[in-house]
């Protein structure tokens, strides 16, 4: 019998995240940053790199980058500068990207996130400010015998932050959960709209394996083209497995860049030229250095909102909500704000949470709307809950009323009146209907008399049907019991 000792590997992952900043104009010129405009309609001599044009830094972009750094617990550099990163690619009209090299704006931060009940902390190596490249649309058609690309420079020059983590992540799942947390922080901070599907949040991942217990890093792969949170996890799971197989079969791994193929579910090696990574950085002579003083940093720090994890903890503490509710309600700052405004109107948190997590989110999802596009006012929802509490309408009719409020923004009281939805609690009026229903359903009535209580639900349903759903179910049930079971 031979004893095989199998090496156990540890996965080491670091991420590079690019997030577009939500400024109105580009980082070095006044062109608009609107997504989805006609190609090459939002460009000018500066972002096209025409000779003689000069960049001027957008103050808001700097402030957003600093805010992102503060939200990620970074040190803010008192002195930083811009550098040119040189490479040739058609989406880069100047043949260099204005970026930051040795003196980034933010450094040495961290982010905490929770996974499987455990709090994990990931180091943030740096956050720097740079400009976006344009966008290539690759065509399958052929141009003079070779394929060609179409270039739209509208995106070129939109401010971007690059966030580089330390290699602190230890599984593909951790990488995904961390990225979701990072996205939420940027969303709450209000510096980026972080839409992965529109490309305003992008992620590359570095992954390597090493024998458990080793402190040396293995040869890493950089994985590109990760277009969703799910693909981040899938691509890294694939890549970890691929590397493990190479190592276990006695092979050697080399540092390389691989492209995630979403459809095939594999990573593919990218062919790259030898000097491709010699970016020959040098200081951007057209931009003066940036000096950030304490007062500016403190002013920006004071503008930071409560961040997602803090807000979740407060929701549990202050409103006595279950953790799950707190998590759902803090998926966006707008939703969290709406919840708090409703609670302020209504007084109790849990019923508000139930309605928001139930009907409100159901309708939002069904109609693909954002919270801020919805007509329901916090007072409207509070009034609706009070109408139900007071027995003016029952909970089912409440859902109907809510749906109309959602679409029209009308007051619930007005909707109830207009559509005659008041609950019928009047015993005399309901008794007549109950008697009719019993007469029309003798079998079900007998079943109830014989103690089969499931049948009473059927009879209540019939009364509801007769009254257009408006009967007070408690009164109906009492009447049925009285008649069939003698009280």
């Amino acid at each position: 019998m031979s004893v095989e000792t199998k090496v156990e590997y540890e996965i080491v992952i670091g991420l590079e995240i690019h997030a577009e900043l939500s400024t109105e104009s580009k980082v070095f010129c006044g062109c608009r940053t609107t997504f989805g405009a006609d190609p090459n309609s939002l460009v000018c001599p500066v972002c096209l790199g025409l000779p003689g044009s000069l960049p001027v830094l957008n103050r808001k972009a700097v402030e957003y980058a600093i805010k992102a750094g503060l939200a990620l617990n970074c040190e803010i550099a008192r002195y930083s500068k811009f550098d040119r990163k040189q490479y040739f690619y058609p989406d880069l009209p100047k043949a260099y990207q204005i970026s930051q090299y040795d003196l980034p704006l933010c450094r040495n931060g961290w982010v905490e996130f929770e996974i499987n009940g455990e709090v994990r902390r990931v180091g943030i190596n740096r956050v720097h400010l740079e400009e976006e490249a344009g966008k290539s649309v690759h065509s399958g058609e052929r141009l003079l015998g070779s394929e060609y690309s179409l270039i739209d420079y509208n995106r070129g020059g939109i401010p971007l932050i690059e966030i580089v983590t330390e290699p602190d992540l230890r599984s593909p799942e951790e990488a995904r959960v961390f990225l979701e947390q990072l996205r939420q922080i940027l969303l709450f901070t209000g510096v980026s709209d972080v839409k992965m599907e529109e490309g305003s949040l992008r992620c590359d991942a570095n992954i390597s394996l090493r024998p458990k217990g080793s402190t040396k890093f293995g040869a890493k792969t950089e994985v590109k083209n990760l277009n969703s949170f799910r693909s981040v996890q899938r691509a890294l799971e694939y890549e970890a497995q691929r590397q493990r197989e190479v190592l276990e079969s006695g092979g050697t791994l080399y540092q390389e860049t691989r492209h995630w193929d979403e459809n095939r579910g594999v990573t593919v090696a990218m062919r790259s030229k030898e000097e491709a990574h010699d970016y020959r950085y040098f200081p951007e002579p057209d931009l003066v250095p940036l000096v950030v003083d304490e007062a500016w940093i403190e002013r920006l720090r004071a503008e930071l909102p409560e961040l997602p994890r803090a807000r979740q903890a407060r929701f549990v503490e202050q409103y006595g909500l279950p953790r799950y509710d707190a998590e759902v309600l803090t998926t966006s700052p707008q939703l969290a704000d709406f919840f708090e405004a409703c609670v302020a109107e209504y007084g109790q948190a849990k019923p508000v949470s139930n309605w928001i997590m139930g009907e409100f989110l159901r309708l939002l999802k069904a109609e693909g709307k954002a919270v801020e596009q919805v007509q329901v006012s916090p007072k409207g929802l509070a009034d609706l809950l009070r109408l139900i509490d007071q027995g003016v309408i029952n909970a089912n009719v409440g859902k109907e009323v809510f749906e109309e409020m959602f679409h029209t923004g009308k007051e619930p009281g007005a909707i109830v009146k207009e559509r005659g939805l008041e609950q019928i609690s009047d015993t005399a009026a309901l008794a007549a209907i109950v008697d009719q229903v019993i007469a029309a359903n003798p079998d079900a009535a007998d079943n109830v008399r014989n103690g089969e209580m499931k049948a009473i639900g059927f009879l209540i349903g019939q009364v509801m049907k007769q009254t257009g759903g408006k009967a007070n179910p408690k009164v109906v049930q009492a009447l049925l019991r009285e008649r069939l079971l003698g009280g």
Binding site: G30, Q86, S149, Y153, M270
Partner: protein, 114 residues
Amino acid sequence: MMETRDGRSVAAGAGELPRLTAADVAKVAAQARLRFTDEELEQLSGQLSDILRMAAELKAVDTEGVEPTAHGIPVYNVMRDDIPVPSMPQADVLSGAPEAKDGYFKVPRILEEA
């Protein structure tokens, strides 16, 4: 020790600078997407070596205790407010393009994937 253009001798660097070869220049040229003949590479390697030697004179300066700087003038924080201004008309943008299609610049495809 080396001699500067005005004949002074300074105790620094340039003597340690290896002379650029034609191959070095060819590599730099490739990175800048420039193409030269062999004769030009030979000529340029000499000229570039001279330029580097000249720049190396700066190494003689005592910079002990001097902060590194990327810019020669003490001007900082030149910024603009985040206010959009009109862009160029698309027709003007594309007027200098060798080829355009549907409002896009049309370029030969660069293959980077496997």
